[in-house]
């Protein structure tokens, strides 16, 4: 049994999480949620806290490339793993195809849900580069947008898919 596993009365834990390509080693409270680790410990406030009850998906980030709701995961669980936030989407000096799609197709109004939407869209296109409209809507169905009626979000993802085919 490892040293950490037998120790009791301890409420912190050292973690090393690779966030947007950079390894970050910090001693954190075990109860710290991943979303607060990103926003408060690392200062990456692009990840939003919406409902805080696993419903709205505003806090969605990628864990080893897979979308997860970061309000419903402890940061300590991300030890040794890779997290991508909206701050990690853009290549140097430009926008990713998904970001460009949201810009060109007016895929946002207030922007609150946008980081989560873009991360899920990025993961969808990595797995399925040419999704149907239904597949896009299905993939985004765990996230809530209160402004756009989803129409332009779907168009934004379609734009990014088309852009990907060109490239």
């Amino acid at each position: 049994m490892t040293e950490a596993a037998v120790e009791t009365g301890r409420y912190t834990h050292p973690v090393t999480v690779t966030v947007n390509g950079a390894a970050r080693s910090v001693e954190i409270e075990t109860r710290l949620l991943l979303v607060h680790f990103l926003r408060e410990t690392l200062g990456l406030t692009g990840t939003h806290v919406g409902c805080d009850t696993t419903s709205c998906g505003a806090c969605t980030v990628l864990l080893d490339g897979t979308p997860v709701k970061s309000c419903t995961m402890f940061a300590v669980q991300a030890d040794g793993r890779e997290v991508t936030t909206v701050e990690g989407l853009a290549p140097a000096g430009g926008l990713s195809p998904v970001q460009e799609g949201f810009h060109e197709e007016h895929g946002l109004q207030c922007g609150f849900c946008t980081p989560g939407m873009m991360l899920t869209a990025t993961a969808l296109l990595a797995e399925n580069p040419d999704p149907s409209e239904e597949e896009i809507r299905w993939a985004l169905s765990g996230q809530i947008c209160r402004c756009t009626g989803y129409q332009n979000i779907v168009k934004a993802v379609q734009y990014a898919a088309a852009k990907g085919k060109e490239g």
Partner: protein, 288 residues
Amino acid sequence: MYPARFEYHAPGSVEEALEILERYGDEAKVLAGGQSLIPLMKLRFAAPQALVDINRIQGLDTISEDNGFLSIGALVRHSACERSEALRGRFGVLGDAAPQISDPIVRNRGTVVGSLTHADPQGDWGSALMAAGARLEVVSSSGTRTIPLDELFQGPFTTSLQPNEIATAVQVPDPGTRAGGTYLKLERKVGDFATVGVAIHLSLDNGRVGSAGIALTGVGPKNLRATAAEEALAGAELNDDTFKAAADAAAQDAQPRSDHRGSADYKRSVVRVFMERGLRKAAETASA
């Protein structure tokens, strides 16, 4: 929302996890996908002294067929079931339930076995797996035992699992090649609990129904086995009269209550419609 503080352990083996659980008595909780446990901790409905995170244990994330059972390991996520070829056809009740659990992002984290041990009376997996005749594989320091799902669910959020035990897999008996099933769910929106869910699992025997597993979600205080419907189907001919009789029986088995999702009469009616629709699909798959 912040949960109460807790000690965190991430053991590398089931044996190590069991040792830690033994030490805490009933003060520790096992953490798998966390999609039910973490919300409960944030609301402080649960405040365990320690969490035993089993996510780093190798070998619990597989779906396999062995010794007459399909086995779904404790770390198999809903999304893996959604994609699994093994859960189509004769295990269609499971494959059809998977994409209807919560929402796509929650499905990337949440686990089947975790859903069962959480024992939400409105849970979809409880009905789907009960219809399939599943049992939970459970280990403790004194060995391995299995618990049929009908005996696992003691009441809302209460199971017969002991604090020193870990559920390592759910096992579904091989229904034979002439089998099929489906799970039909009415939900108001993605992520909502079922207004009504109907789980159907049929095995054929010489062109007639051999055995049938029928379970209902959202129309009782827990996942309900529709025993009258199962009896109406056992040994019956595959035809519309049989399906109609079974649908009527299931509607009687249901114990719906009127609430914001619909009236009791409405829910009973949905059970009937879903039964007829689902039985036709299950019979078609089983006969193919």
